[in-house]
Amino acid sequence: MEPSTEADGTRWVRVIQRIAADRDREAFAELYDHFTPRVSAYLRRQGAQGTAGDDLVQEVMLAVWRKAAQFDATRAAPSTWLFRIARNQLIDSLRKQTARGGDQAHQSVDDEETASALTTEQVETGDDNKILRLMTELPKLQNEVIYASYFLGQSHGEIADSLAIPLGSVKSNLRLAFRKLRASLGVEL
């Protein structure tokens, strides 16, 4: 996979714009090939497994087709936009399950995925994803709370329970980790 460099970002901006303006199916297939495995890996880590997980992935990509005209390159990078759509579809699907009384909202993830922090092995070698590399360099607890939030979809309370630390520590570690990661994105503190 190509690194998510700025030039790469610009390429996907143009692809999304072609999908929006021309309803370009080739452009959509190109975007699908690049992003779907990532979207799918993200949703699986959040517990969307099996057929329901497969369906959710397709719903996300269909939403991308529908919402392409809403993409605004001045407001978000393509990966941010895709992440938002995936997250919103996940929340919708969890709420529907809850409304139906199902208790499958948060299935436990399988063995391979139960790691509680991001390790260097999980990060692509030779790529320049600065954020993930920085995560592996964070103090263990900061890495764990970020990982639990974004990859396991755990609330502050659930993180406190699973790591057996006070809620206040969850929040303070998230704050510290967020500040470091934000600084690495070049955003002023």
Binding site: R45, V57, Q58, E124, S149, K171, L174, F178
Partner: protein, 221 residues
């Protein structure tokens, strides 16, 4: 609009990651309508999510790749006319005299839609139909001094009208109190008008002392 009290970074991360309760997420969305600073921070938190999603290791990604059949089925189902046009982008902050649109939508109107129930002298509460158990609106009479209390879980309090002051500062419309669990505070409503707040909690408030403990059942959460 210049606000003095913002969302904690840990709350923004939870919102970006999609892990807040529905009630907490609504109160966050309401504050965001007032606050460009928190909106910018949220984009950063979402950007982190996007970067993390894109950086997942190839092995995990390869295992998650959808089948060629799934891809072809989706491509075949695409409809050119199936397009959602951009909603009008609202980037202007609402000011303190307006209610957040997310709240108006949920209420189906303004605060006159609420059915108030008196909890104690000077203190009224209303639930919002369809808003969830952890969501309520409090109306506190001018000059009322609330009992000193801490919080076991997370609580978000957004001022909608009026103002109050506590150990942390003065909270006016649009300001949000996103307090840490160990923070105890004793809000006093400013003298001129009643203070109306939108509150989301995910654990019972805990009051200190005998009288406050008697009050606790009235808070009903």
């Amino acid at each position: 609009m210049t606000l003095h009290h913002h969302l904690d970074d840990s709350t923004l991360v939870a919102h970006a990651a999609g892990t807040l309760s529905t009630e907490m997420a609504l109160v966050v969305d309401c504050h965001l309508e007032y606050c460009a600073i928190c909106r910018e921070n949220l984009v950063v938190a979402e950007q982190l999510g996007g970067e993390m999603m894109m950086g997942l290791a190839d092995t995990a990604v390869a295992m998650s790749a959808p089948s060629e059949d799934a891809k072809q089925a989706l491509l075949a189902s695409l409809d050119d006319g199936d397009i959602e046009l951009p909603a009008e982008v609202v980037d202007e902050d609402i000011d303190g005299s307006e209610l957040p649109r997310a709240l108006v939508t949920l209420l189906g109107g303004g605060l006159e839609q609420l059915k108030w129930r008196s909890l104690a002298p000077g203190l009224k509460q209303a639930r919002i139909a369809g808003g969830g158990d952890g969501l309520r609106v409090l109306s506190i009479a001018p000059g009322t001094c609330m009992p000193l209390h801490g919080h076991r879980g997370s609580e978000l309090t957004l001022v909608l009208q009026g103002s109050y002051s506590d150990e942390i500062g003065r909270f006016q419309p649009g300001d949000i109190a996103d307090l840490d669990v160990d923070t105890e505070h004793q809000p006093i409503v400013d003298r001129d008008v009643e203070c109306i707040c939108l509150v989301a909690t995910d654990a019972p408030l805990k009051f200190r002392g005998i009288i406050p403990r008697l009050l606790q059942p009235f808070f009903g959460i």
